[in-house]
Symmetry: C2
Subunit: 166 residues, 2 copies
């Protein structure tokens, strides 16, 4: 078996989009910064989202039965950092930007590259995390923009219109 530290070093080399995953729980809005999001299939449109079990967000997503994946643009790095900060209030997190509601009631970030509003179909507990299997109920594409990716323990900008390996 691989030790935790070696695995973390390896994962630092797996680049991933930066997202804020939000929900509307029994005690109000919740949200956190999450890179562990991936597409399963487009028939039916389905995403996987992995969330720490110790997070208050986790319980709120389960209670709501829904969540919204907001894919951040390079201009939204501050929002990523704010939603990754522990022990601050929901108002401090959500106060940085404007939010709407799409299909489920979960907050959708205005000007995200795209927001995917989801109904949670099932959950699976794996070690420290829950895997949420999510049916996409609404999509809202924002303005075009550069992408935001986390890689090598830092944020990176991805040019939207042209490949940097053209």
């Amino acid at each position: 078996m691989v030790d935790k530290q070696s695995y973390r070093e390896a994962m630092a080399k797996l680049g991933a989009a930066v997202n804020v995953v939000t929900g509307s729980g029994p005690d109000g809005r919740v949200g956190c910064t999450v890179c562990a999001v991936c597409s399963v299939t487009d028939e039916p449109p389905t995403l996987l989202v992995c969330i720490n079990r110790n997070s208050q967000n986790n319980a709120a997503f389960k209670a709501a039965g829904s969540l919204c994946v907001n894919v951040l643009s390079a201009e939204q790095r501050l929002i990523a950092e704010r939603f990754a900060t522990k022990n601050i209030s929901a108002d401090e997190r959500f106060g940085l930007a404007q939010w709407d509601v799409l299909a489920t009631g979960a907050p959708a970030l205005r000007d995200a590259l795209v927001s995917l509003d989801c109904e949670i179909m099932s959950t699976m507990e794996v070690g420290t995390h829950t895997v949420f299997s999510c049916a996409v109920k609404a999509v809202r594409s924002g303005a075009s923009g550069d992408g935001l990716v986390y890689f090598g323990r830092g944020y990176h900008r991805l040019n939207q219109s042209t490949s940097t390996l053209a």
Copy 2:
């Protein structure tokens, strides 16, 4: 519900690392280019990998009970393209690079950013795809290098040492 085309447009905005996932099946080596890989937890080290059910690779991974996720560097774009090409032989795919064996017998790409050799713990069928839940049995980090990410329907280079949003 969201239609397939809208979902695909949305997924083009979710940047993801480019990986070649390999296996050693009953008929020899198999492999394909996969972006749908994400980390679940480091206790125990666990990855999710999503593979099309119509792919021959899918059956071979299941038969072998193992697979290896090779995270590509920016210099390995040609390997990504080769493993994404349909209807070519395994020799044509694997002939581009050098391969080793780590813990499970699945081919590990020499000079990948990192290779994660995995035992398949469980599978879940979701629409057109299978979700493989994988226990990481061995990690091999390659030389430092820039990352390779797919975003906006093109390949992008990620500088390994410095954030482009510093």
